[in-house]
Symmetry: C2
Subunit: 342 residues, 2 copies
């Protein structure tokens, strides 16, 4: 069907070897022959079969990333942003991107094994780490190049290349901001324990209280999955259990949106009655009603830099720094309300 080297070779009377070398620009082929071969190749519309090339060269120039499936529209702009960043950088390095979506769990691990073990990619980008992440264990065990968006939980070693925002500092800044605004009863919505960054964000919350000389109330803390619905439920729990809360910190923007909805549903005004803060600064945060105070983590840039790091690791020229902690930024918006009198 499609045009191969063999076809070109037949067409112009040279061997496959010579055609291959002519096209590759080796200097052991006569200049006039090369011209002839180039001409025939062009006329026939030759495109090298990349799969064959991959097999022979044991290189794919492709990087892989597996995301959770996103059924609803607004779910998880985190991955969208990350992918945009990765995609952009990958193109610059002449890499393609192979994406597959699976729910975390065995199915996801099978996909890792299939794609990585099946030699479909030169490297992997792992996002949103779990505690004791089996994907990382696997990639380390077979010594396959990979980089991680995020790192291990605080008590485990992060002995792999990663870029992560300093979650602890981020949440700490946010809580301190609320304390500054005069809040004393501040709720926290954490992700499940299994998510690696949970402990960092929890610590940031506790540190801020400690710094301010306030006592930590465990009943001010609830857990939600990372979606909007989870945030809604967790906020409901908090608001009903401890009505004295005047602020809620959610561990990502999506859950913060849910929390805002919960506050709203109870007839209380966001910002004025109950301040709400999030984490990530996804695009929707800025457009939310009211705009959401949050901790900005440069997801797009993290995607870009991770890709660069991965490409260099693949080329066996790892950059000097392969474990990068990014200082997040506090973005104050209307969901903070005004500083409270007294």
């Amino acid at each position: 069907m499609s045009v191969t080297l063999k076809r070109i070779a037949k067409e112009c009377g040279y061997s496959v070897t010579t055609v291959s070398r002519a096209l590759a620009g080796y200097d052991d082929v006569n200049e006039t022959t090369r011209q002839r071969i180039l001409e025939v190749a062009h006329n026939l519309g030759y495109q090298p079969n990349l799969v064959a090339r991959q097999l022979q060269g044991q290189r794919t120039f492709t990087i892989g990333i597996i995301t959770p499936p996103q059924i609803h529209h607004h779910e998880d702009d985190f991955f969208s942003l990350l992918i945009k960043g990765v995609n952009y950088a990958a193109a610059q390095y002449h890499y393609d991107l192979l994406i597959s979506s699976r729910f975390p769990g065995t199915e996801e691990m099978d996909t890792y094994r299939r794609i990585v073990g099946g030699n479909r990619v030169d490297g992997m980008i792992v996002a949103r780490t779990y505690q004791d992440d089996p994907r990382i264990t696997y990639l380390q065990s077979i010594e396959h190049p990979f980089v991680v968006a995020g790192r291990s939980a605080p008590d485990l070693p992060s002995d792999f290349p990663y870029i992560d925002a300093d979650s602890r500092v981020g949440v700490q800044m946010l809580v301190r901001h609320f304390i500054h605004y005069g809040h004393r009863h501040i709720g926290l919505i954490l992700p499940p324990e299994s998510v690696a960054f949970t402990a960092y964000r929890h610590a940031g919350y506790r540190y801020a209280f400690q710094d301010a000389g306030l006592t930590y109330h465990p009943e001010y803390v609830a857990t939600g999955d990372l979606g909007e619905a989870g945030g809604y439920e967790a906020a409901c729990t908090l608001l009903d259990r401890t009505p004295e809360l005047t602020a809620i910190v959610a561990c990502n923007d999506l859950m913060a949106f849910g929390a805002m909805a919960a506050v709203h549903a109870r007839g209380r005004r966001i910002g004025e009655d109950v301040a709400v803060g999030g984490f990530d600064d996804i695009p929707a945060a800025q457009h939310a009603m009211p705009p959401l105070t949050t901790v900005r983590q440069p997801i797009y840039e993290i995607g870009e830099r991770l890709t660069e790091m991965l490409v260099r690791i693949i080329a066996d020229e790892p950059p000097a720094e392969t474990q990068i902690l990014i200082e997040p930024a506090l973005i104050v918006r209307a969901s903070s309300g005004q500083p409270r009198p007294q």
Copy 2:
């Protein structure tokens, strides 16, 4: 390095053929031998080399999509949504997704040729059609499976599988809605002519005027690229040239955001002084301030359905309908303001 059939064969004393057939479940291998082979394969952690399989089978079980690079965060949720839908459906059919990002133009065409001609994918999804789209011409000329999100401009044949929203009807609904609300001076921000859907949306605008017995003013129409900045500039042009405008229809949500900013920058209130409408209903539209009236196009679902269509075309079992026009829905939000007195 990695485990191959040859390695397993050596390990358990059978030929590569037998190992291959044992693993593939053919019944011409003895049950006890199969068990033995399965065991060895499992112990060695065998994963079939997918690249080799692709080369031999001339099938990749991968579909490709090329998007424009998205440098800024909020730019173009259209492609994000489409990809989410495609990704989700692809996983269901056990296909992977190969993504590359290029700016439209020769570089994009080269990438098409490289990926499609290079046999990296079984099928392609083409998004956001141009007038007389060279990508489509190319794919048709080599008879490679593909489906399109969008169709040709009205005066050209759309002789390929596609799913598209009925843009004309969508804009018509939106403009009629504004007319209903009492607006008589309604601006329109169109994309460049080269975008295939421009003519449809323009027609919708004209039809709505005609239906209402109003005259069409060419000076109420401006052009912007499809981004927020383009919408801002076009809206500025319109507002300054024809200050009598009380409503602006932008041909996508991003440009509508830009238009809102322009209205705001002139000290006029969105909705109350100047109503604004968009097209697409990307997630941000709902969270905008004020929330944006728009024409909803189910992008995620289009991605899903396109993927299903493509998979069936690849399998040579094309569905009955391969040219689908979707009726969009008018979503009225606060950017419409209130019906005007008189």
